[in-house]
């Protein structure tokens, strides 16, 4: 029971701690893409941490702000809508496996909350429920802009769900299962067995559809500021607005996790299979620790090298030292400890845990990379016009999706 609760709680907390960080990356990344400095004003006794404190002040602001419920809204649904959106974004994590299952005392421990044999259909079902949150928010606000935003969004999510389903279908044909864990097992550690190489068309279709489902640019028509002010969440304030905001980022992370699991081998470490990791766990641990020590030292030295007295003329000068010095020390300690300790002795359990931790790390790295792709594309491409969006969805992506399914099926039979 406790294990189950932990299994549910840990991915959830992980994702929710990732949200503010992603918002920071979005702001800072967009700033550098647009050749700006980005947020750097919020400070705590003069310590600014390059804008990281902005997310904290944002959270405090959003929680303490007055929560306005406008007159003439449909109150129950107005309140229900943000909860629904966030709920749908959160429950999808249940079926995502984070590492290869390990054996404890003969029993098998999986790194996912629920190993459903209809895993992918469950994800599709949940994401299709997400439309209701947006629709309800748009309709219950009793505002023309909101209603239009909600209608646009539902039409868009609807259109792209078909293409998404078709792309998924070709992946299912390749893997021969609806279980995410089985699909990841099927891809193996060899990179050329990963689905984005075996079926690049499905990958591109799925990527596009995920962007449309998450309402991210270039598909953020539901909240096209220039036409609809902010679309379906224009009447929301305080934490209710923040819930829509959080749901958008949670969708991004789910989308990245799905892309990774379906097309980039999930938790598979490139070229290193689980058996290989387990048999070579002792030298592997040695190398990983040493690499971390070196990495920490490099970052630490880089930061320390940037120190220049009187650069800004205030406490910001010392930020690089405050972060750089501990990193160097940690890196040095880790490296020296590993070198002096020599080889490690791991039991059977230790080997499995080492493999699982490494796979989890690789999975998270892939997810973060795709989160960055989301942000990168948002600040690179302009927004579609509405008719272009519908044209792309129905006349380009669905035929391509059908072609992908037919092609995959033919190749599989041959």
């Amino acid at each position: 029971m406790l294990v189950l609760i932990l299994k549910i709680l840990i991915p959830f907390l992980l994702i929710f701690n990732l949200l503010p960080l992603l918002i920071w990356v979005e702001r800072k990344g967009s700033a550098y893409i647009q050749d700006r400095r980005g947020p750097n004003r919020a400070s705590f006794f003069g310590i600014r941490l390059g804008g990281l404190l902005h997310t904290i002040s944002d959270v405090i602001k959003l929680i303490t702000k007055e929560d306005i419920i406008p007159a003439h809204v449909n109150k129950p649904f107005f309140i229900l809508a943000p909860f629904l959106v966030l709920f749908v974004a959160c429950v999808t994590y249940a079926v995502i496996p984070f590492a290869h299952p390990i054996e404890i005392n003969g029993g098998i421990f999986t790194f996912q909350a629920a190993d459903l044999n209809v895993g992918i259909l469950y994800i599709l079902a949940m994401s299709s429920l997400g439309v209701f949150g947006v629709l309800l928010a748009g309709w219950s606000s009793n505002n023309k802009y909101s209603l239009l935003g909600g209608l646009r969004s539902s039409a868009q999510m609807f259109s792209y769900e078909i293409a998404m389903g078709l792309a998924l279908l070709s992946v299912l044909l390749l893997g021969g299962s609806l279980e995410l864990s089985a699909l990841i097992d099927d891809q193996t550690a060899a990179v050329w067995r990963w689905n984005f190489i075996r079926n690049p068309l499905a990958f591109i279709l799925f990527l596009t559809a995920v962007f449309a489902e998450a309402n991210r640019l270039p598909f953020d028509l539901p909240e096209g500021e220039s036409e609809l002010v902010a679309g379906y969440h224009v009447e929301y304030s305080s934490m209710k607005f923040a819930m829509f905001f959080m749901a958008e980022y949670a969708h991004m992370i789910v989308g990245s996790a799905l892309i990774t699991a379906l097309f980039f081998g999930g938790w598979q470490v490139p070229f290193l299979s689980t058996e290989f990791l387990r048999t070579n766990a002792e030298s592997g641990l040695f190398m990983v620790l040493l690499a971390h020590g070196v990495l920490f030292m490099i970052i630490g030295f880089f930061l320390l090298g940037k120190f220049k007295s009187g650069k800004y003329g205030d406490k910001r000068d010392y930020e690089v030292i405050v972060i750089g010095l501990p990193m160097t020390v940690i890196g040095l300690a880790l490296g020296l400890y590993t070198l002096l300790h020599g080889s490690f002795q791991l039991g059977d359990m230790g080997r499995q845990v080492f493999a699982a931790v490494l796979q989890f790390g690789v999975f998270m790295a892939k997810i973060l990379f795709f989160c960055w792709v989301f942000i990168w594309i948002r600040w690179t491409l302009p927004r579609f016009r509405y008719d272009q969006l519908m044209h792309l969805g129905w006349k380009v992506m669905i035929p391509l999706g059908l072609a992908s399914v037919a092609g995959t099926a033919i190749v599989m039979v041959l």
Partner: protein
């Protein structure tokens, strides 16, 4: 024990949601309550060890069909004045009473049937592979006929839509 509890929880949820759906004047609210009822039904399917049907229930009914319904209702933009409760007339009362009588009659006869415990389901019952195999072997012709029916409906909708 927990299964019975879950059955009553989700069964009650579906019944409650369906009743709420019927007693709403607002069509959008009705549609949303119907989605809630579908959700309860899906949970009941899971309890009947048919997870595939459960997920399809949510995916197709709640996710696809009801979204379209809600979409259309919102586009119709019905004003508040048009939304009134039906008046109770003698005729309607008579209809309802007759319906209740027959329902009671049926329920009474159903209750007289002795309860026979079902045989336990075999391994893998209700999973995708089994359902798929059944659909493409034993029930192939009904399955294909259904597809043709759906195709006819799509073409019909297109023809009707093109008329103007």
């Amino acid at each position: 024990m927990s299964e019975i509890f879950l059955f009553y929880l989700f069964g009650g949820l579906s019944v409650l949601m369906t009743l709420l759906m019927i007693f709403q004047t607002n069509p959008v609210a009705s549609a949303i309550y119907l989605v809630g009822a579908f959700f309860g039904l899906a949970a009941l399917y899971v309890l009947l060890s048919a997870p595939f049907v459960a997920v399809l229930q949510v995916l197709v009914y709640a996710g696809a069909i009801m979204v379209l319904f809600t979409f259309v209702i919102m586009l119709l933009n019905i004003r508040k004045e048009e939304l009134v409760y039906d008046r109770v007339t003698w005729r309607k009362t008579a209809v309802v009473l007759t319906a209740l009588f027959f329902a009671g009659f049926l329920i009474w006869h159903f209750l007289k049937i002795p309860v026979v415990p079902f045989a336990p389901v075999e391994e893998g019952f209700g999973e995708v592979h089994k359902v798929g195999r059944l659909m493409f072997s034993k029930y192939l012709i009904p399955f294909e006929l259904t597809s043709v029916l759906l195709l006819v409906a799509i073409i019909g909708a297109l023809v009707l839509g093109k008329k103007e």
